[in-house]
């Protein structure tokens, strides 16, 4: 029926009005937007392709996670057996396992009981999955402790979660607005920093593991001897790199103990500072209470011996302990510039990455290109719209005008919805808007052609319009649902720009269904009521 009841009319107008309100902040000056209540401050974000910025896809080094897992497993095994007073001959890596051989005459049964305490159920003690992180097998005096695949997967997944946290803290300190840091798939993280021009800077900040360790320098032999022959089992040679103009000019070896006294996890603060005493840049840090205690104890026992400050496997400096450090705070010195000390402090504050990250995809868009694209996109959209508006008016006259109003309402509604969900508008997204306009026009064309047909068959004005709308509706439904299916799948599978395109198209189809079915009809009914036309002018 062509009567539109009052509540329906109200609903149509209210919906249109609300979505327009939602879209409005996009074109308001910022000072107006600030005065709005926060619920109404809805807006779209411009995609990186439109405002410039850095897009990085980084991958957690799963192999490093696995290696680290095995290293710490070996340390655990050694500690457990030492505590049980079982001596071992060797503990070697083999694939995803650590193979432990006991010395002759050791209590293998005791070792067996102790080692079997290592595996923990995955997903916590109350988990019912029946899966464990490790598996222990025994052949006489030889034990094999294997890291299981589900255990490793969980470890990698946790490393990704932790990395996201660390990256977020680091990026936040850069002070950029609205960075995107998201998990992608199993082992990847998407990092988008809008407005940032220098990908190298972002990469530098993300790409540093920032694993800080304090270890004692092993003085049982000279480092040259260790390099020439064999280092003690519990020590390792590490290097300090001396850089000049960004290039490594010298590598100084140190023999340091494997045992870590305190690690960066126990830091609570780090700040860059300039030491007037030594006239160089330093980083001041503070430990939490347990770290402070450990540090105090070790420095008390080792006065006048050097300890090494190690960052990502490289020695930063190896000062001699002059006096016990009891207050839980200290400083790192070591050939810093103002910038490098500030960077180190930032990284230490944000915490260490659980594993190194590699950049697998990088896209950057300069701000000028972004601005050009916005200008081009807007111009194209306006010109395209003018074409469509003129064409529709030329073809359908007054009804074309109705259609144009409906399509404009449609586009506004679409922007309103996009603002509501806080969507990111990208260039393909603009293409999606244009395609929606095409679809919206098509809906009106379908209706108008039906009306023409009905009118040609000699129906009255009202009957022709009514039947036209009814008959077109099924077609519009089928056509839009098929499009919507394609858009939904695109949205689900796509990433980045493709996803943006799918989102605009999908939302556009929804608003098109609404405007085509209700809004055009609403205008046509008003026209019928007010003008009571004797014939349809098209």
């Amino acid at each position: 029926m062509l009567n539109i009841v009052r509540w329906k009319a109200t609903l149509i107008l209210v919906t249109a009005f609300v979505t327009m309100l939602l879209a409005a902040p996009n074109i308001m000056p910022q000072s107006w937007v600030d005065r709005l209540p926060s619920a109404l401050r809805t807006h779209m974000t411009l995609g990186l392709d439109l405002q410039g910025g850095v897009h990085l896809m980084v991958q957690v080094d799963a192999d490093a996670v696995r290696r680290e897992r095995l290293e710490s497993l070996r340390e655990d095994i050694r500690r457990i057996l030492r505590d049980a007073r079982v001596q071992i001959l060797s503990a070697t890596f083999q694939g995803n396992s650590v193979v432990v051989r006991l010395r002759e005459g050791q209590n293998a049964e005791l070792a067996n009981t102790e080692l079997r305490k290592i595996p923990q159920p995955l997903g916590g003690v109350f988990s019912t999955s029946g899966q464990f992180d490790f598996e222990v097998t025994r052949q006489g005096d030889i034990f094999t402790v294997t890291a299981t695949d589900p255990g490793l997967r969980e470890r990698i997944s946790r490393a990704v979660t932790q990395s996201i946290e660390v990256i977020r803290r680091r990026i936040d300190q850069l002070g950029t607005t609205e960075p995107v840091i998201q998990r992608q798939g199993i082992d990847r993280i998407l990092v988008q920093v809008p407005g940032e021009k220098d990908p190298e800077r972002v990469k530098g900040i993300i790409g540093t593991t920032a694993k800080l360790e304090f270890r004692l320098v092993d003085q049982s032999m000279r480092v040259e001897e260790a390099l020439a022959g064999r280092a003690p089992a519990d020590s390792v040679v590490m290097y300090e790199e001396v850089k000049e103009g960004g290039r490594v000019v010298q590598q100084i070896p140190y023999l340091v103990q494997r045992r870590v006294i305190v690690s960066g996890d126990e830091l609570v603060d780090a700040q860059a500072a300039f030491s007037a005493q030594s006239a160089e840049w330093i980083v001041n840090f503070r430990f939490n209470s347990s770290g402070g205690r450990k540090f105090a104890q070790v420095t008390q026992e080792n006065v006048n011996r050097p300890f090494a400050i190690i960052l990502d496997g490289k020695v930063v400096s190896a000062p001699v302990i002059r006096e016990p450090i009891l207050g839980g705070s200290g400083q790192i010195s070591g050939r810093f510039t103002a910038e490098s000390s500030a960077n180190l402090a930032l990284l230490l504050r944000a915490g260490a990455l659980p594993a190194p990250l590699t950049v697998v995809e990088e896209r950057t868009v300069g701000a000028s290109l972004g601005a050009d694209s916005v200008a081009a996109g807007t111009r194209a959209a306006i010109i395209g719209s003018i074409f469509v508006i003129i064409f529709m008016f030329a073809t359908y006259g007054l009804f074309g005008l109705f259609a144009n109003i409906a399509v404009m309402v449609n586009v506004t509604m679409m922007f309103g919805l996009l603002s509501l969900v806080g969507a990111t508008l990208t260039l393909p997204g603009i293409a999606g808007v244009v395609l929606t306009v095409g679809m919206a026009v098509d809906s009106n064309v379908l209706i108008f052609e039906r009306i023409r047909e009905e009118a040609r068959m000699g129906r009255s004005v009202i009957a022709a319009i009514d039947t036209g709308f009814t008959k077109a509706m099924g077609t519009i439904m089928d056509a839009n649902v098929t499009q919507f299916l394609a858009a939904a799948i695109l949205f689900y599978l796509g990433t980045g720009p493709v996803k943006g395109f799918a989102l605009t198209l999908g939302l556009g189809i929804i608003t098109t269904m609404f405007t085509a079915i209700t809004f055009t009809r609403f205008i046509v009914v008003l026209w019928l009521r007010w003008f009571k036309p004797a014939r349809i002018p098209m």
Partner: protein
């Protein structure tokens, strides 16, 4: 005021009569696509084969291609493609994947930035590593297949199996022609192309569905009309809509093509071709293929109210 009429009210084009020609043309194009695909191959962009793309803008005046080529020759990244991009000062630099996995790509990009830094502003860089590109290919193909399948299932429920199959054939036909377009023009086939391809799939289905809808409606109404006559009338009665809709979309896309900037030109170019192809296939391929799938009049629409029609069917 006289209104614009692109198509007269009462057309009686014999679309079905020329279907052998249409099918022959489509067959030739399909074969040509396969041949071209095998001989020339698709010009795959870095999204799918990995590699690096850098857009440069000369800080002053026009880009000096020769000098740029010479400089890039010194950084050892293998074969470098240079392409003017929308203006004399803009250059697109492309080179393939570098040895050394993902870190290798990063190191190479750094070297490239260093040699061009003095005279060029880097407007855009895209580095797609070996691990990502293969996944993108996989996901895109899966996406395409899934979307076609989803639509197929929907049409199966809403229509009859002949329509679902017909729409699928028409869609695959349209995809083939677009691939043909990419093979012939050797333009970059990348993730945006996939987006345009999927858009065309949607658009093509939209058109096919509109005409199929009319065919179904007429099948319910005219139980005795010969099938080819019925199809012709269905196409003709929706012809005005087909033309007007495609015209408007085409016009909107033209706006994007000429004024939308270089970045989306490739996308809109394939969309423009797509719209033409969709028009063709929804008029000439999609309806007439129904005949080959054995669609007949009189057997459709189980809920047909007229008992007379049912008895005719029994007698026939």
């Amino acid at each position: 005021m006289r209104l614009l009429r692109l198509v007269p009210d009462d057309t009686k084009f014999g679309f079905l009569r020329i279907r052998p020609i249409a099918f022959a043309i489509s067959m030739v194009v399909t074969l040509a696509t396969i041949a071209g695909f095998l001989l020339l191959g698709l010009h795959v962009g870095i999204d799918f084969k990995g590699g690096t793309l850098v857009e440069l803008q000369a800080k002053q005046g026009a880009a000096n291609m020769q000098q740029l080529r010479a400089r890039l020759g010194t950084v050892n990244v293998g074969e470098v493609q240079l392409q003017e991009f929308g203006g004399p000062s803009l250059v697109l630099v492309r080179y393939g994947e570098q040895p050394g996995g993902d870190p290798g790509q990063q190191a190479a990009l750094k070297r490239v930035r260093e040699v061009v830094d003095a005279d060029y502003e880097v407007r855009r860089t895209e580095v797609v590593g070996p691990t990502v590109s293969s996944e993108l290919v996989q996901m895109s193909v899966v996406g395409l297949i899934l979307s076609i399948l989803a639509v197929l299932i929907y049409l199966w429920f809403r229509f009859e199996w002949q329509f679902a199959l017909g729409a699928m054939v028409a869609t695959i036909h349209d995809i083939t022609v677009i691939v043909f377009f990419y093979v012939v023009t050797q333009s970059d086939f990348d993730i945006t192309s996939i987006a345009s391809l999927l858009t065309i799939v949607g658009y093509s289905l939209n058109n096919t569905v509109v005409i199929y809808d009319r065919i179904r409606e007429m099948l319910r109404k005219h139980k005795k009309m010969p099938i080819d006559e019925l199809l012709d009338e269905a196409i003709n009665s929706t012809l005005a809509r087909t033309t007007i809709t495609h015209m408007t979309t085409f016009l909107a896309l033209l706006g994007l093509f000429f004024f939308g900037g270089e970045v989306i030109r490739g996308f809109t170019a394939s969309m423009l071709v797509g719209v033409l192809i969709c028009t063709y296939s929804s008029l000439l391929i999609a309806p007439s293929i129904l005949i080959y799938f054995g669609l007949k009049t009189g057997g459709f629409g189980a809920a047909a109210p007229a008992p007379a029609a049912a008895s005719t069917k029994v007698k026939a």
